[in-house]
Amino acid sequence: MSDPSGSIISFEEPSRPVADQFLLNIDGWEGPLDVLLMLARNQKVDLSAISILQLAEQYLEFIAAARRIRLELAADYLVMAAWLAYLKSRLLLPAEETGEEPSGEELAAHLAFRLRRLEAMRGRASVLMSRHRVGRDVFLRGLPEGIRVIRKSAYVADLYGLLRAYAAQKARSEGNDDYQIRRRPVFTMEDAMRRLERLVGFVPDWTSLQQFLPPSMTDKALSKSALASTFAAALEYTRQGKLELRQTESFGPLLIRSRVRAAGQDE
């Protein structure tokens, strides 16, 4: 036990030759499903008649053997081993009446499905690769003359389009004066800083930031602007250590209180 460095042969039991013969070539595996497929193939030619329980045992044995000879196994091989151990227990234990989790049979059926699907794809891959392939088995004309397309552009335009273009051009060059940039009512950051500054020292308890908005903001846009700038101002005072700011849940109210008061000390 202390020295497991013995050769692979040391754990090769005549009755279980399956796992070992693959171990020699662990680098050649394309993941745990690949190993399972090979084990299953060894079990039966017809994948629809394999024993998943037996397969699970063989795989666990395979992993155990690999660890015994200290082969580095990628994590997904170990994840599969853990899953198969779980599957094995589900298959051996009487089915529970939980109803929530899939039964052992369902898990086994799903694994069998995946194995068959992988095998099918693998089979198709080799069928595809053995097809007569252009450039390898069949050949296209070596000296195609090519078919030339000579493109000629015919421009289409009509009077309507022309007039529209002229009108659009006119509107652009002469109509500019008609447009003015509207000044939008804004409660500026400076306003908010000033307003909040007067109040920051007098907030002993958590109070909604909403309370500090300037009153009588009937204009929707202006009140949004005020909220934004007041929030920014609150962030600034928080940064300066004059305020504390918190929000207890996403989209919940923003709460502030005076830091000086809360700490009960002054500088």
């Binding site: 059926a109 198709r124 595809l128 690769m129 450039g135 195609p144």
Partner: protein, 210 residues
């Protein structure tokens, strides 16, 4: 009759000259009078079927190519083809049979992470292309095979992939086992354990041992 022969000559000339497969519409457009080309193509295909050069339909388009049985004659010119890794071969097959397929779906089937390089390589060869995005969270890119793939692998369309109907019927192109999926065919299971038909350890597999 003469006109018919002339049309045959013209289709022949166009397909010989073209550097790539032509669809029927392009052929029609080029022929004077725009005759129906379906019968002309069928006739030519038959005429050339026993020649050293065959007329074939690939990806819905028509082209001439050398007869497959003469491969031995022509192969000496071809330089050693780059062999695809098994991973790349499988990925290609999965994309072809399951398209549009996301990387996650490919990985689910192979049971192993698909390295970015594998799909990239297939795209670089020109056999795989991005088809679109799956409308699921994360909007993953979906892959499919290209027209070039169909041409090079001698397929009229993905519907002609070898065995695709059988795979579909067996539910093996689905993401999940079909409802009717049974691990064991009923007749192979023990008859006295109706309840346990699904149980894999009822499998009389041991009897197969020598």
């Amino acid at each position: 009759m003469t006109e018919h022969l002339e049309h045959l000559r013209m289709v022949e000339a166009l397909l010989f000259a073209a550097a790539e497969p032509l669809d029927e519409e392009s052929i029609v457009q080029r022929l004077p009078g725009h005759p129906e080309v379906g019968p002309l193509l069928a006739e030519l295909q038959d005429m050339y079927s026993r020649r050293g050069v065959n007329l074939v339909r690939r990806a819905g388009k028509w082209m001439f190519q050398t007869a497959p049985d003469l491969a031995f004659l022509l192969q000496q010119e071809v330089q050693e083809e780059r062999r695809l890794s098994r991973a790349a071969q499988e990925t290609l097959a999965i994309i072809a049979y399951h398209q549009p397929a996301t990387r996650a779906e490919i990985e689910d089937i192979r049971g192993v992470t698909v390295s970015k390089g594998t799909v990239d390589l297939l795209m670089e060869i020109g056999w795989v292309r991005v088809m679109g995005r799956r409308q699921t969270p994360g909007k993953p890119v979906t892959y499919g095979v290209s027209e070039q793939f169909l041409i090079e692998f001698g397929l009229e369309s993905v519907k002609d992939l070898p065995g695709i109907d059988e795979l579909k019927a067996a539910g093996l192109l689905d993401a999940e086992p079909p409802d009717s999926y049974r691990l064991l065919p009923v007749d192979e299971a023990d008859e006295d354990t109706e309840e346990d038909v699904l149980l894999p350890f009822d499998d009389p597999v041991e009897t197969g041992r020598g």
